[in-house]
Amino acid sequence: MADRKYTEDHEWVEVDGETGVIGISDYAQEQLGDVVFVELPDVGKVLDQRDEAAVIESVKAAAEVYTPVSGEVIEVNEELNNDPSLVNSDAHGEGWFAKLQLTDPTELDALMDEATYKTFVESLS
């Protein structure tokens, strides 16, 4: 299983070699409510860690998604244009946002692993 890391802002990155797929956590999608639109980054865009990677529109409000790692966007999840509710129904799977060619894999070291993130989320309620 590929290695998945989390930020305190509830984004995740799943790393496979030198690429990483980013998305938001199940906890985050639950907080947002029904997602009705996702604005994805352009393929080829170079993002620094913490740059805005996407904007999620729920019925009620817009929320920015920041990339957990630096890299170049090499693929985006076009399916979200047809069905943005995939973010709600499968945040950790089919609701992914973009695939990045990582430029600084050492950034991953400071992110939370699955167990640490789980404890972090529990501390919020």
Partner: protein
């Protein structure tokens, strides 16, 4: 993705425990902790209200009874509506105005009769409640007295199934048509019931003693047709219905004419011209305002939000979006806002700024969704 937890000092409505027990996400609104949504989610709650019946806790709204020797004439000093012309049991949407014709608040007034004496039952916005009541009481000091009903809850049951559900507990509710109200027994409790709401649907608003509210709400919710609905869906429902949200679509620097609410200025009142800001408002009615509230249909899927600038093709500023979101009933974004009067005609092409780019949009007639009121 920050998530603010509700402030512990927020006021609680009589249904607070019910909301929490049903898994509502609570938010701060008008000083109260209120449900923004339940686990079903805003889209499901919205559609349920359009298809069956939704129960809303609107106990944060201000309720009061105004009494006086000539209460209608007194209240007309503050609002442009024809209050004297109301029959007993008739309800009217009207506006508290300031001296420059701006809107202090919008409210519902129902003429009631108490032991032969006429009075007005008022319901005002929660966020304006204290200011409204202070304004009414001090403006009418010596001729009318305001009793603030602090110990009453207000529930709204909205949707095509509302009448059948409520009639089981209050058979008399079927006698009311849209914008009528009166006292009636509701499940053995004395309540004030009006056929009104804020969703564009048929339905009722039920004012009852706070102590009886939770048991009554549970009884309604036990019905298959009824689900609890939060403020999120309340907002998307009223936006589809083209209804103004105070503090957003109308405020102290917006006149009724600009807001498309000239119809609230009664015919007789236009002749007597004796309401606050009358000179300014009547001049705008005669000559047209410089800007107007309009509906907006942005292209694509991305909602435009309050505060987004509206421009013409040349890039000149026309105004601003005041409410915007996703319409679950239309499965597309909708909005309302103000534009220069020469761009207010339905079908006019405009652009709306969204995150540094321009989205094409069309000025559209409101309501976006046809209302389903029971008028006769």
């Amino acid at each position: 993705m920050a998530n603010a937890s509700p402030d512990t000092e927020l006021l609680k409505t009589p249904l607070h425990d019910l909301h929490v027990a049903r898994g509502a996400r609570m938010m701060s609104f008008a000083g109260y902790a209120l449900p923004v949504q339940y686990p079903a989610g805003i889209i499901t709650e919205h559609k349920h209200t359009r298809n069956a019946a939704g129960l809303f806790d609107v106990s944060h709204m201000g309720q009061a009874i105004l009494r006086g020797a000539d209460v209608a004439a007194s209240f007309e000093k503050l609002v442009p509506g024809d209050i004297a012309g109301l029959a007993t049991g008739q309800m009217r949407y009207t506006l508290l105005l300031n001296e420059t014709g701006g809107i202090r608040d919008d409210l519902m007034a129902t003429r009631i009769e108490e032991n032969g004496a006429l009075a007005l039952f008022l319901v005002v916005n929660g966020a304006c409640r204290d200011a409204d009541f202070a304004h009414i009481a001090s403006s009418l000091d010596g001729e009318a007295t305001l009793e603030i009903l602090a110990d009453r809850a207000l529930l709204a049951l909205q949707g095509p199934g509302a009448e059948d559900v409520l009639a089981e507990l209050a058979p008399d509710c079927s006698d009311l048509v849209f914008l009528e109200g009166r006292d009636m027994e509701v499940d053995g409790v004395s309540a004030f019931v009006t056929r009104s709401g804020y969703t564009g649907e048929d339905g009722y608003e039920i004012s009852l003693p706070a102590a009886a509210a939770a048991a009554f709400a549970e009884k309604l919710l036990a019905h298959d047709a009824v689900e609890p609905i939060g403020l999120g869906a309340r907002d998307s429902l009223r936006l589809e219905a083209g209804l103004c949200l105070y503090g957003h679509d109308i405020d102290e620097v917006t006149t009724p004419v600009e807001a498309g609410l000239s119809w609230t200025v009664g015919k007789r009142r236009r002749e007597t011209a004796d309401f606050p800001g009358a000179a300014i408002i009547l001049k705008q009615i005669a000559g047209g305002p410089s800007r107007r509230r309009v509906g907006l249909l942005p292209e694509g899927r991305a909602p435009v939000r309050e505060g987004a600038p509206i421009q013409n093709a040349a890039g000149d500023g026309l105004g601003m979006v005041t409410s915007g979101g996703f319409a679950p009933g239309l499965e597309r974004p909708i909005a309302m806002g103000y534009v220069a009067a020469d761009h207010a005609e339905a079908g006019t092409s405009v652009t709306i700024e969204l995150r540094g780019r321009s989205v094409a949009a069309e000025v559209a007639a409101m309501p976006f969704v046809k209302p389903n009121y029971k008028r006769s």
